[in-house]
């Protein structure tokens, strides 16, 4: 899989919604990073063997660059969508989502991923295509301390809104007086009444935008942000995720030559705590090209997060199921993530890959994970 020494890895999160939208590394690392798509796992290019169940984004595009020295453009691309979060849910409050039943958990965590990767060599190019699916029947719950903080935030946002209302109150009274006069003049003519209301809305909007630029309001906003900058909506407790997928290989990139190459299914179970998380993965991967490498894997990962960094250790054991297959193998790796600044992570993976005696079995990777998503949708004007 990943055998090159000091092979740089870039995980660019070019999401329509950010994959790593958070303020502080500790809680953010725990809860908000979208894990490697199952399709990447099937293609054998995922950054980690033991991926945690995690929070899906409604639409995410991941790009991996496995070239040495960052000398070429990324060729491994995964698109992952969460059907549930692609549509609006006006009646879903955060309180209603704090505890999930099995059906709602499956709906809110289910993702479909598509990935392509270049798996061959320059002389024998092979394009890999994969489709993956995952869902978590159990996805933890929002802990009581976070619930309390979210309620405080709601109250605080109400106070902020009151500051805004107070600052515009006098001028709004004038606008309302004019509106009342215009409505009275319009009588029962619904079109004229609507026009009068629209004029009022436009004028009130301009007033609100002006007041929002005032120092008094900005102080109120800054005060709220200072209090809640580190608030992340992490779920804790028992998590259980199911994933499956299939991969095709197309030698030479020719569509007619594409054939089923690998398929797999896995179960991930674990416990998410405030700073410590533990996860176990049981995975079966099979190849239709050469079944001698059909394997059942068991992996474990322990993760500790604190402040701006996260440290984890993972071990996995692989047993081949076919007669005449290689003997059992194991892999050990340590992973370090450090947030240099908001949205920019340095990641390192070090350890020993499965074939310990083979050249390149030493895992040593350092790379960057960058969140490049910005504000993407402007609210239409009145």
């Amino acid at each position: 899989m990943r055998t090159s020494i000091l092979m740089p890895l870039i995980g660019l999160s070019l999401a329509v919604v950010p994959l790593a939208a958070q303020s502080t590394a500790g809680p953010a690392f725990n809860g908000l990073r979208t894990p490697a798509a199952p399709a990447f796992v099937l293609l054998g290019i995922a950054p980690t063997e033991v991926e945690r169940p995690n929070t899906p984004a409604d639409l995410a595009l991941s790009v991996l660059n496995r070239s040495a020295g960052l000398t070429s453009l990324p060729k491994d691309v995964a698109l992952e969508i969460s059907p549930y979060w692609l549509v609006k849910h006006p009646m879903l409050t955060w309180e209603a989502d704090s505890v999930r039943g099995i059906d709602s958990s499956i709906a809110r965590t289910m993702t479909i991923s598509f990935a392509t990767a270049e798996l061959g060599t320059s002389t024998r190019p092979v394009t890999g295509l994969a489709l993956g699916l995952r869902a978590a029947p159990f996805s933890g719950r929002i802990p009581a301390r976070t619930t309390a903080r979210l309620r405080e935030l709601g109250d605080r946002l109400g106070i902020e809104s009151r500051v805004l209302a107070d600052l515009r109150a006098e001028r709004l009274k004038v606008l309302e007086r004019i509106r009342t006069q215009e409505l009275e003049a319009a009588g029962t003519d619904s079109a004229r009444r609507r026009e009068a209301l629209d004029r009022f809305t436009s004028a009130r909007g301009e007033l609100t935008r002006t007041v929002m630029q005032s120092p008094q309001y900005q102080v109120s906003v800054d005060s709220t942000e200072a209090m809640f900058r580190d608030l992340a909506l992490n779920r804790e407790g028992f998590v259980l995720e199911l994933a499956a997928g299939a991969a095709l290989q197309a030698p030479g990139g020719a569509a007619d030559s594409a054939s089923l190459a690998r398929w797999g299914a896995w179960i991930t179970a674990g416990y998410e705590g405030k700073t410590l998380s533990f996860v176990v993965v049981n995975r079966f991967l099979a190849s239709s090209v050469d079944s001698i490498f059909d394997a059942l894997s068991l992996g474990m990962r322990l993760i500790y997060t604190s402040g701006r960094y996260a440290i984890s250790a993972e071990g996995s054991f692989r047993s081949f199921t076919e007669r005449g297959a290689p003997s059992n193998e194991s892999r050990f790796a340590a992973l370090v993530d450090f947030e240099l600044q908001k949205g920019l992570w340095v990641t390192g993976t070090f350890g020993r890959d499965y074939a310990a005696g083979a050249p390149g079995s030493l895992i040593a990777q350092i790379g960057l994970a960058i969140n490049v998503a910005g504000q993407r949708i402007k609210i239409p004007g009145p």
Binding site: V17, P18, A21, S23, L32, T55, P56, A57, D58, S82, W85, K88, H89, P90, M91, L92, T93, W94, L153, G154, D155, R156, L157, G158, I159, E160, S161, R162, L164, A165, A169, L172, K173, E176, R179, E184, R193, L197, T201, S202, R204, G205, T208, R209, M212, V221, E225, F228, R229, L231, A232, L233, A373, Q375, R376, I377, K378, I379, P380, G381
Partner: protein, 118 residues
């Protein structure tokens, strides 16, 4: 911060009958509202069955103004929506506005909404 979402609608009321207002912040986001009626502050924070007007008060052509600040907390979606439910008028009615999408956790938008009683 994004520009505010600006909305106004009519809500038909019955003569001399008060109404109530409830506000729901959707899409798993967090928000708080300040409500004023006829220029007078009525409440702030989470709003549930807030009485507007008193028995015997004619609400016609008066308005209730709501400023709702929504902050993105949902890591899975940046969509926002606010539903204002008015009850006690000619018929109970939900007004749902969902015009803003927030790109990052911590981003915020103000929904600036008025209901004129007719």
């Amino acid at each position: 911060m994004l520009d505010p979402v600006e909305k106004s609608d009519f809500y038909p009321v019955r003569a001399m009958t008060p109404v109530t207002l409830s506000i729901k912040i959707g899409n798993g986001q967090v928000g708080g509202t300040n409500v004023t009626f006829d220029g007078t502050p009525l409440g702030s924070g989470p709003i549930t069955n807030l009485p507007i007007g008193t028995a015997g008060q004619d609400l016609k052509d008066k308005s209730v103004d709501c400023l709702t600040t929504v902050r993105r907390q949902n890591p899975s979606s940046g969509k926002t929506s606010v539903t204002y439910t008015l009850k006690g008028g000619v018929q109970d009615q939900d007004f749902t506005y969902n015009d803003a999408t927030l790109s990052q956790i911590g981003d915020r938008v103000v929904y600036d909404v008025s209901f004129v009683f007719s």
